[in-house]
C-alpha cells in the first residue's frame, strides 16, 4: 500500500525539514556570521565614542592610542569573556533540558550556578589558590546537579513542578549560603564579591578559560548529539535504542556542572541565558541536538555579548550588572514556558 503513495509522499515530504543533515552547516554558518557581527558591535559601542574611522584605523600605523586601548584592551577581552560565558551557559542549559526532558531547565534556575558560586566563594574565603577555587566551584555545581536530579526524581518521574520546586529550593539555599559567606567574609572584600549573586562581566579577568572550555565542550559533545536526541525520549526508550544511558547521563551531569562552574568563575551567576537561548533555537531549528548544541554555543555567546553592551552603555557612566539584563529577558520567557507547559 505504501508503494502507490510513495512518489506523492516523498515529493511532499521533500519540503519537510529533515533533521540534521543538510541544515546543520548552513545554520551554523549563519549563526557564526551573527556572532562575528555582535562581537564587532561590542567593539564599536561603549561609553566612549569611537568613530568608525577610528575602528578601521586601529591596526594602521597612525591609530589613536586611546582608541587602541579602549577597543583592544577593554572591549575585546570583555566581549570575548561575554561570548564564552554566554555560550557555556546556553550549552549547559540545552544539556540539562535534554536530560530532564524539560525546556524549563536552566543552570541558574536549578541552582547549579549557585552551587558553583558557593564553591568558588568558599575556597576564596579560605584563601585557596586559583586551581582550588575552580575545582571547588565545579564540585559545588556538581553537588547541586546531583541534589536536584536525585531529589526531583525520587521514585516517580521528573514532573515539571517537582523539578522546579527542587531546583528553586536548592538555588534559594545556595543564595542563603552566599549571603552568609558575604556576612562573615572580610568587610574590605565585600564590594568585589557581590557579583557572585548577580553576574557581572565587569569583573571578568580573562576570556580564555571560558572560550577554551566552550570549544572543548563543542568537540566532546559533537559525537554525542544523536545519542542525546534519543535520550530526550526517556531513559528506557534510549536504552532500547542502544544508548548506554547511565554513562551518557553522567557525562551530561559532569559537562553541565563543568560548563556552569567555568561560566560562574568568569562572571558570577548570570541567569536565564541557558533557558532563553535553547528555547529560541528550538523554535527556529527544531530539537536536533547535533544542531542545537553548537548553535547554543554561538547564539548564547552572541546574546550575552549583546546584553553586556546594554549593561555597559544603557546608563553610562553608571554600569549595570549584566545579570540584570539577562533576567529581564529571561523571566518573561520562563513564565511563558511555564504557562504553556500546563
Amino acid at each position: 500500500m505504501a508503494g502507490a503513495e510513495q512518489p506523492l509522499s516523498a515529493g511532499a515530504a521533500a519540503q519537510v525539514a529533515v533533521p540534521g543533515l543538510a541544515r546543520v552547516w548552513p545554520s551554523l554558518l549563519v549563526l557564526s556570521v551573527l556572532s562575528v557581527l555582535t562581537l564587532l558591535l561590542a567593539l564599536s559601542i561603549g561609553s566612549v565614542h569611537v568613530p568608525l574611522s577610528g575602528l578601521l584605523a586601529l591596526f594602521g600605523s597612525n591609530a589613536d592610542p586611546l582608541h587602541q586601548t579602549l577597543v583592544i584592551e577593554l572591549r575585546l577581552p570583555r566581549a570575548l569573556a561575554a561570548f564564552g560565558t554566554g555560550g557555556l551557559l546556553a550549552v549547559a542549559g540545552a544539556l540539562m533540558q535534554v536530560l530532564l526532558r524539560n525546556p524549563l531547565a536552566d543552570p541558574y534556575v536549578l541552582g547549579l550556578s549557585g552551587g558553583a558560586a558557593v564553591g568558588a566563594l568558599g575556597a576564596m574565603l579560605l584563601g585557596l589558590g586559583a586551581l582550588a577555587v575552580s575545582g571547588s566551584a565545579f564540585v559545588g555545581a556538581l553537588v547541586s546537579t546531583v541534589l536536584v536530579f536525585g531529589l526531583a526524581h525520587g521514585t516517580g518521574s521528573w514532573t515539571p513542578t517537582r523539578l522546579l520546586l527542587t531546583g528553586v529550593v536548592v538555588a534559594a539555599g545556595w543564595g542563603a549560603v552566599i549571603t552568609f559567606m558575604l556576612v562573615i567574609g572580610p568587610t574590605e572584600r565585600l564590594p568585589g564579591m557581590l557579583y557572585w549573586l548577580m553576574g557581572d562581566l565587569a569583573y571578568a579577568r580573562s576570556p580564555w578559560p571560558a572560550l577554551s572550555m566552550l570549544a572543548l565542550a563543542c568537540l566532546v559533545l559533537a559525537p554525542l548529539g544523536r545519542s542525546l536526541n534519543v535520550l530526550a525520549r526517556g531513559p528506557l526508550q534510549a536504552a532500547t535504542l542502544g544508548v548506554a544511558v547511565r554513562p551518557l547521563e553522567w557525562t551530561v551531569f559532569l559537562a553541565a556542572s563543568l560548563l556552569t562552574s567555568v561560566a560562574v568563575i568568569t562572571a558570577g551567576t548570570i541567569g536565564f541565558v541557558g533557558l532563553v537561548v535553547p528555547h529560541m533555537l528550538r523554535l527556529v531549528f527544531g530539537a536536533d541536538q547535533r544542531l542545537i548544541l553548537p548553535a547554543s554555543a554561538l547564539a548564547g555567546g552572541s546574546l550575552l555579548v549583546l546584553a553586556d553592551i546594554g549593561a555597559r552603555t544603557l546608563m553610562a557612566p553608571e554600569q549595570l550588572p549584566v545579570g540584570v539584563i539577562t533576567a529581564l529577558l529571561g523571566v518573561p520567557t520562563f513564565l511563558y514556558l511555564l504557562y504553556r507547559s500546563r
Binding site: 566612549v48 587602541q68 584592551e73 570575548l80 586559583a130 574590605e188 568585589g192 565587569a202 567555568v262
Partner: protein, 307 residues
C-alpha cells in the same frame, strides 16, 4: 583557569606595554629618576609619578574629600557617584560608582593618577587598570594618622605639598586638642548606630570608635570581631549603654533615634542621652571628622552632666 593565572592570560589579548609607552610620552620625556614623586600607599606599595599629577581620578567620595583637603581638588578629572563634598565635587565628571567603575570613561580621561579605595572598589577592575599601565594609589584610611598621612601623600603626588602639609598639621592639631580636652574625662558607655535596618554598629578598629575614644567615650560593642557587626535591639538593651548616638538617612533626619525612646529603663533613654550626629561628618575618613568629633564630644559631655 583560576584567578591568579588570568592576569597573564589577559596580556595575550592586547599590548599593555605599548600603552605604558604612550602614557610615558605624555610630557614625561627627559625626567630624571631622582626627580620622581614617590609615596607609599596603604597597601605598602611604592607609587611614583614623574611629574605632579594633573588628571586624578578619585574612586571614592572620601578620597575626593582628602584630595580637596590636600589642595589637589582642581587636579581631579573624574569622581564616582556620591562625591558631594566640598561643593565643587558635585560638578566633577562621573566615572560610575565605587562598586562598578566605568573603565572606558576612566581611560578616556587619560588620568596620570588613580586613587582607589581598597575596601570599596572591585579588585578585578583595579588590577585591570594597572595592567593597562595606569598608576593606581590604593587608599584605605583606618585612623587619624592615616588621614593626615594620606593628605600629605596626595599633596606630594599632586605637587601641592605646602597646602597639604598645612591641612594635615591642622587636622593633627585639632585631634590632639580634642583629645586633651575630652580624652581623660570619665568614660561614657556609648552605643553608636551607623545603620537602622538592619541595626548595625562598629567595633574598635573603625575610625568612629577611635573618635568615641577621643571624646572619652567607650564603645559598648568595641570588642566584637567584625568591623561592622549586625545586631538586634535586645543585645543593645542588654549592653545598657549610657548614651546612644546615631546618624540617619540624610543630614537632619533623627528618625533612627525614635525606636529607643520606648525603652525608659535603658540608661541612655532614661537620661535623655539619645544623640544625633550628621553621618557625613563622621562616617567618611576625612578631615571633616573633626566636625563630627566635636559634635560627639559635646554630646558625651552633656551625658556626663546628666549623671
Amino acid at each position: 583557569m583560576g584567578i591568579a593565572d588570568r592576569r597573564n592570560a589577559v596580556r595575550v589579548a592586547g599590548t599593555p606595554t605599548l600603552l605604558v609607552g604612550v602614557l610615558l610620552l605624555l610630557g614625561v620625556v627627559g625626567v630624571q629618576a631622582e626627580d620622581r614623586f614617590c609615596v607609599t600607599d596603604d597597601r605598602q606599595r611604592e607609587v611614583c609619578l614623574s611629574q605632579p599629577a594633573e588628571r586624578i581620578i578619585a574612586l571614592s567620595p572620601g578620597v575626593t574629600e582628602l584630595l580637596f583637603a590636600a589642595g589637589a581638588g582642581d587636579r581631579i578629572s573624574g569622581a564616582v557617584r556620591y562625591s558631594d563634598y566640598p561643593e565643587a565635587a558635585n560638578d566633577l565628571p562621573r566615572v560610575g560608582n565605587h562598586t562598578r567603575v566605568d573603565m572606558e570613561t576612566v581611560l578616556a580621561m587619560e588620568p596620570d593618577l588613580i586613587v582607589a579605595w581598597v575596601s570599596g572598589n572591585p579588585a578585578e577592575q583595579l588590577e585591570r587598570l594597572e595592567q593597562l599601565g595606569l598608576t593606581v594609589y590604593y587608599s584605605e584610611v583606618r585612623d587619624f594618622e592615616d588621614v593626615a598621612a594620606s593628605i600629605r601623600r596626595f599633596g606630594r603626588l599632586a605637587g601641592t605639598s605646602a597646602e597639604a602639609e598645612q591641612a594635615a598639621a591642622g587636622f593633627t592639631a585639632d585631634i590632639s586638642r580634642l583629645e586633651q580636652t575630652y580624652g581623660d574625662r570619665d568614660p561614657v558607655r556609648l552605643f553608636y548606630q551607623i545603620w537602622d535596618d538592619p541595626l548595625m554598629t562598629i567595633n574598635d578598629t573603625h575610625l568612629i570608635s577611635q573618635i568615641i575614644g577621643l571624646c572619652g567615650g567607650e564603645n559598648v560593642f568595641g570588642d566584637l570581631d567584625r568591623m561592622v557587626p549586625r545586631l538586634d535591639r535586645e543585645s543593645v538593651l542588654a549592653a545598657r549603654p549610657e548614651a546612644i548616638a546615631a546618624g540617619g538617612m540624610g543630614e537632619g533626619n533623627e528618625s533612627w533615634l525614635e525606636p529607643w525612646k520606648q525603652f525608659d529603663q535603658l540608661p541612655a533613654t532614661g537620661r535623655g542621652n539619645l544623640f544625633f550626629v550628621p553621618p557625613s561628618t563622621i562616617q567618611r575618613p576625612t578631615p571633616r571628622v573633626i566636625e563630627g568629633a566635636e559634635i560627639l564630644c559635646e554630646h558625651l559631655e552633656a551625658a556626663r552632666g546628666r549623671r
